[in-house]
Symmetry: C2
Subunit: 335 residues, 2 copies
């Protein structure tokens, strides 16, 4: 099969020819027994268990080409799924990736997306690779990633294990990704509020940390297994915002969580305390540890587990919903 | 969280409320260690390996609401993935399902889709269940299923193991699904060639076997592990048509495959030999067995593995491409 130029479109290239160009760019998984090319892959599960999570990103509600490059999308699709694996205390081992793209999509976009998948794996979770995929045509660009992990003989760290007296800790930023998204919607949109690629570079230049946190997040994947080794009693990936996700841990564990407002926010980066509490998509790791634990990796204490129910901030109930629900909050016109 | 009526739309219902209605309808997996509700699921891999495959179905190229009910879509999305697992010789254990749907979609459609997933698992692969999912909003209805399987200590059956002298066999229909699709495009479309729901019932009534094979296939899942136990040397899920898929086995194995035309086709069901060779989406199992093997389950002999390369029919090269490539063949106007 001859290689097509990267500016050929998917519509002018067979699925097989496109996949033949993509697969060599993808990282190998160290867990591979049978790799891509058969009906299915076969992966190793050394302790006879495996961790599985899936997440789909859709053009419009989840990303916009005016702001995300294909490389960014590949990176983020990998990173967010790796984070869910890490939040169980597992080491990510492999991904499968299904993509549906308009037939007008240049093959080069898929190659750049593959490079983003590759670099996210090699930077965030070395040894994790892509073991299978599927390519379809759709009017709406869509990527679905399923990620796998190895618990290395440890128990999974669930949401339900927080105990009164535990330290509440987080590894990674709070509110950074939401601040970046707010800045994009404030300054990288046209007069109708539509994302505008020509205004993007200026916003990225003015706010590199926050905009990068939104478009190309660096979740602390290695801290997931480290937390499990250190005896974390509960753990969660912060995808929907600290307030909403902390409440989930509190509810699942039958406790209350009291956060220290002075330890939230990052005024130097323009993140206020409220955004640190309610902003989604950080993909930081939230965990609870026994009162005597020394916090591993990048974890820092932000509160305590206390008697009661729900979320407190400085001892007072915090009832703002926070977080992100694509159905209730997405404005299709702004996509 | 209060239950919403099934005729409420996704746009009027939170993702969490929708998932809370869907998950109780889904089948449990007997491999579940940690089920839905945490960052990720944890599954058992008793022989320290697991089989993984993923496939995405997109409204337009892969299904049309004028012809497929939500139940049919759930059934087919499960069945086609179960078939890829079975084609490795594995027993399907679990699925994860990511869905992106327009916000105008009635919640009841997702509940019916869940019922289709459930019934396909319980009928085709008892013990297989849904262990995780994701729900997004999209202008284009899209479902991505990732399926898992257990090899039960056996070697996986690859495409590459066919040997000269082997029997070529198939379990399941040939060309039935493609015949059904042709009948739908002939008689269940309006004057502009668009799929027409009002004409569908008549076509289903006239051609129940072929139309059902297209919309709600019953791949012989149990025959995958049976073939592996019987010593199948190569195996493949027939998704792209017998000719194309047989050529893949021949190429991967370094042999030629010679099919007996008299054993193809099913004139009673309106399937001619050419359609049996080139029609896609049957999801029957194609396998090769040693010359002395007694064929297991529903397998029947359709040819021999011979010296050479490529595909022969009655000893003569068969070079028609056959099969289905969504990029090259999809006519968006007919979706």
């Amino acid at each position: 099969m001859s290689e097509r130029p990267a500016d050929a479109t998917l519509g002018a290239t067979s699925e097989r020819a496109t996949l033949a160009q993509i697969f060599p760019r993808l990282p190998q998984s160290s867990a591979t027994i049978v790799g891509p090319g058969d009906d299915a892959a076969v992966l190793a599960a050394p302790d006879a268990r495996y961790v599985v999570t899936t997440d789909m990103m859709v053009h419009g509600p989840d990303f916009r080409w005016a702001w995300s490059s294909p490389y960014d999308l590949g990176w983020k699709a990998a990173a967010t799924n790796l984070s869910d694996v890490a939040a169980m205390g597992a080491v990510p081992t492999a991904l499968v990736v299904a993509i549906a793209a308009p037939s007008s999509t240049p093959v080069g976009h898929l190659l750049a997306l593959a490079d983003g998948l590759r670099d996210a794996c090699s930077r965030l979770a070395p040894g994790c690779g892509v073991v299978g995929g599927d390519l379809s045509v759709s009017d709406t660009f869509t990527i679905a990633v399923t990620a796998f992990g190895d618990l290395q003989g440890r128990d999974p760290v669930l949401r339900s294990g927080a105990r009164v007296g535990d330290i509440v800790a987080v590894s990674g930023p709070l509110g950074l990704a939401a601040t970046g998204l707010r800045q994009l919607f404030e300054s990288a949109v046209d007069a109708e509020g539509e994302p505008d690629a020509s205004l993007f570079a200026g916003v990225l230049g003015a706010h590199p940390h926050t905009v990068t946190a939104q478009l190309r997040p660096h979740p602390p994947i290695a801290d997931g297994p480290l937390a499990a080794q250190a005896g974390a009693t509960a753990m969660l990936d912060l995808s929907d915002g600290l307030a909403l996700d902390a409440r989930r841990v509190a509810e699942a564990s039958g406790v209350a969580i009291d956060l220290d407002a002075s330890r939230l926010g990052a005024s130097g980066l323009g993140v206020d305390t409220r955004t640190a509490l309610t902003g989604g998509e950080d993909h930081s790791l939230f965990a609870t540890f026994g009162a005597q634990a020394s916090l591993p990796g990048g974890f820092r204490a932000i509160g305590r587990v206390v008697d009661g129910a729900g979320l407190l901030v400085d001892g007072r109930p915090f009832d703002e919903r926070g977080g992100w629900d694509p159905y209730l909050e997405w404005n299709g016109q702004a996509g």
